[in-house]
């Protein structure tokens, strides 16, 4: 089967190389455009398809690359090949500067509109900086790219340049999305809160992705400028941005999506131009209306582009080949691993201590201290002067009637909400108001009441949990570096999964039944090797047998020295696993004690069953 796949790959590559000879000369032109747009749209696919960021200003980066390259080469005598690089760098720099704005960290429409405005500003600048760009009349002194005496003028030759660009772009994207950074990009899209809770630097990754897409747009623009040897602002205006966006939206979330989208749009252009009688210049109009109709129709029918369809085909092919080799059943006991990671492994040392029977004594082993914590929403005091201490090797239950402020307390402690007053100490250090991602790096993580898994496989979800314990950013991902870290993350993830008893490694995480989703979230947290684990209703939706297994797992983790804060409605579960229980009511601590004390406490009974005590 492998041989068959390799054959297919070689055949495909040969076909791509031979295409200009196989098709009538006219098509070489189209092929060049498809490859250029395809590469640019591939960058956009990373933004829209994988990171979920919409850019209505990509045409601006495309234009900066184009103008940057040919102006440098044409007016300042820079070597054309070097100018390709410089144009790309210029676009990437512009992307960096635009992306630096904290707007990028804000999702959705604000970002999209800022980009739209930026795109329009860029078009105005291209037009107004006439002394450099040639203004509305365009820039014409475009030199020729040549290599060893071969001039890249003829589309049949130029095609190979654009082919290299498109192939590199697709390869970069394919490599990136399977890497550590790529997982972070996809994780952000599924849930920013969950991504931050495993320590991903959401803002920085967005910026890097944005710069990468801008760089691809810049290089594509530079190639485009050399290809048609004349550029004017209209090629990079809002219309161009929307065209690129249309390609990306058609492509959806697939490495080949950009090229497919570019092919569809370019061929559609061509068909429309040729089929519609050109008598009254109506072709252009129909094109514009057709883009509009495609965008609206696509969003209504399949908001994620043609990707779902492509993925189905892709899966069929994979199924024909050998599946991911099944994971060897890892040992259930999590004794310190020989290959344990140096950075944070030392901090899990309490595990060993506790396991050997010694009670955690030193102050450094205090897990989590919450002192006088308060959080207001407008006039509502959701949490009021909450204090408790959670020690290493302890399960602390946090219970209380509905609306008592448990979830708010949880969000404040885990760094998703800043507190209004009070302090949070982690291992003795003040971490009050630290963001979730910093909390994760300090060894505190959480699960979510409505499970916040990432839309990827089970194994990848847990590998994402290894984020802070591995290295490799967006650039390493593009270049396919960091394979050793990847292998290590995979090992760690398998171990964590074996620990919670999950075996469906290749399954799509969101397709798992709820009980397994909850276990998967726990596994993802364990992969971080945390010191403090916050569990938000881990038993909700679990069946009786699953609850028993969960209780067993929690007890085992406690015995290894983990500090666990458990918010849970299932009293049977809380009462049986918690060492101590803090009861909240009206945002305050009502009482604190052992499960039996709490169960008998008249105040607690009144809080739950009502005041009108019989």
């Amino acid at each position: 089967m492998r041989a068959w796949q390799a054959l297919l790959g070689v055949g495909g590559a040969a076909l791509l190389v031979a295409l200009p000879w196989l098709l009538p000369p006219f098509y070489a032109n189209l092929l060049c455009f498809i490859a250029i747009y395809g590469g640019v749209a591939t960058g956009l696919i990373l933004l829209t398809g994988y990171a979920g960021l919409v850019s209505l200003g990509q045409g601006a980066f495309y234009g900066i690359g184009a103008y940057g390259a040919v102006v440098l080469a044409g007016s300042y005598g820079v070597d054309p090949w070097l100018s390709l690089l410089l144009g790309t760098l210029l676009a990437a720099t512009a992307g960096y500067l635009v992306g630096l704005l904290p707007i990028l960290r804000h999702s959705g429409h604000y970002l999209a509109l800022a980009k739209l405005a930026w795109g329009i500003i860029a078009t105005i600048l291209f037009t107004q900086l006439a002394s450099i760009t040639g203004g509305p009349n365009g820039f014409t002194h475009v030199p020729v790219l040549s290599l060893f005496g071969l001039d890249f003028i003829d589309p049949g030759h130029f095609y190979y340049l654009t082919l290299v660009f498109a192939v590199l772009a697709v390869a970069a994207l394919a490599s990136l999305i399977r890497s550590r950074a790529g997982r972070a990009v996809r994780a952000m899209r599924s849930s920013e809160a969950a991504a931050a809770s495993v320590g991903m630097e959401v803002g920085r990754i967005k910026l890097q992705v944005f710069v990468l897409a801008a760089a691809l747009a810049g290089l594509g623009g530079a190639l485009f400028a050399y290809f048609i040897a004349f550029i004017s602002p209209s090629a990079f205006d809002l219309g161009a941005s929307i065209r690129l966006l249309t390609m990306a939206m058609i492509g959806g979330a697939h490495p080949l999506g950009g090229v497919v989208g570019a092919a569809v749009v370019t061929l559609l252009d061509d068909v429309l131009q040729n089929v519609i009688p050109n008598a009254s210049g109506q072709a252009g109009l129909v094109q514009v209306i057709a883009y509009g109709a495609i965008l609206v129709g696509l969003m209504l029918v399949s908001p994620r582009g043609l990707e779902p369809l492509l993925t189905r085909v892709w899966r069929l092919r994979l199924r024909a080949g050998p599946a991911e080799p099944p994971a060897p059943a890892a040992p259930v006991a999590a004794a310190p691993e020989p290959g344990a990671l140096p950075t944070e492994a030392r901090e899990t040392a309490p595990a060993a201590t506790a396991a050997s029977g010694e009670p955690p004594a030193a102050a450094g082993l205090t897990g989590l201290q919450v002192r006088g914590l308060g959080r207001r929403f407008g006039g509502l005091q959701a949490v009021d002067d909450l204090s408790f201490e959670l020690r290493a090797g302890e399960i602390l239950g946090l219970i209380g009637p509905n609306g008592a402020g448990k979830t708010t307390a949880f969000n404040v402690i885990s760094g998703l909400l800043p507190p209004s007053e009070g302090r949070v100490l982690l291992g003795g250090d003040d971490v009050t108001a630290a963001a979730a991602q910093r909390m994760a790096r300090r060894g505190l993580t959480r699960t979510f009441q409505n499970t916040a898994l990432f839309e990827m496989s089970v194994l990848e979800n847990v590998m994402a949990g290894c984020y802070i314990r591995t290295r490799g950013g967006v650039w390493a991902g593009v270049l396919g570096l960091g394979r050793a870290d990847e292998a290590r993350a995979r090992r760690e993830a398998r171990r964590a999964l074996a620990r919670v008893g999950l075996t469906e490694l290749a399954a799509d995480a969101p397709s798992l039944p709820v009980g397994k989703q909850r276990l998967l979230e726990v596994a993802r947290s364990l992969a971080m090797r945390p010191r403090v684990l916050l569990l938000d209703e881990p038993a909700a939706g679990l069946r009786y047998a699953e609850k028993r297994e969960l209780a067993g797992l929690l007890s085992a983790l406690r015995d290894e020295g983990l500090a666990i804060l458990l918010v849970e409605h299932d009293m049977d579960l809380v009462m049986s696993v918690a060492d101590r229980i803090v009861v909240m009511n009206y945002g305050q601590t009502l009482t604190e004690g052992t499960p039996e004390q709490v169960r008998q406490d008249p105040e607690v009974i009144a809080a739950y069953l009502g005041l009108d005590a019989a």
Binding site: G379, G541, H569, D572, S576
Partner: protein, 251 residues
Amino acid sequence: MSSPERRSDGALLQVEGLEVAYGGVQALGGVSLAVRAGEVVTVIGANGAGKTSLVHAITGVAPKRAGRVTFDGDDVSRSTPEVLVGRGLTLVPERRELFGALSVQDNLRLGAFLRSSRGARVRRDLERVYEIFPRLAERRRQRAGTMSGGEQQMLALGRAMMSDPRLLLLDEPSLGLAPLVVQEILRVIEALREEGVTVLLIEQNARAALKLADYGYLLEAGEVLVAAPAEQLEHDERVRDAYLGAGPVVP
């Protein structure tokens, strides 16, 4: 354990085999209950027992996976909340869902949005709400969002009353309120019953709810554990166990 004899007669609201799931999590697994005209029926249960899922499914706020809801003899399983209000089934939601930037009076007037053509009767109902809640009358020009939690709960009740309901669904009216305010809200429910309004009261505050109600259902883990007349349920051991646990699950 739902009691079959309560299904037979012409109940105002009848729920049969209601199932609700959110993204695969089963919240309700086949709940049946009945509310007869003029009764106060309560559904009690601990956090996460599925009480809010139940009212949301009955009123069409959340989708049902299976089951049937009959209101006044008609199948309303596929109705939306905006349609049900017009038929006389009104929900007072857990979070009150008031229009914070509008005045108290506007909130009340919007409660009668679907009846706005009947000016005289709406005005009379408005006066009646102000009689029941003098606090609201004092603050009729104040923005709803600036009021205290208790006042907001009163406004939510008043707004629902403005729709001239035949059945009021109250979802945890005592939630997050100070004890004295809870007492006041409960008094109002008592008064509503006197006026002949049928009430389905969802409460966590079991003791207070059972004192008030004719009939009660104890919900646990998305299923009806006990269904019995309220005074019987008041002394049932299983209520306490449902709230505070019956004992360890793990040996």
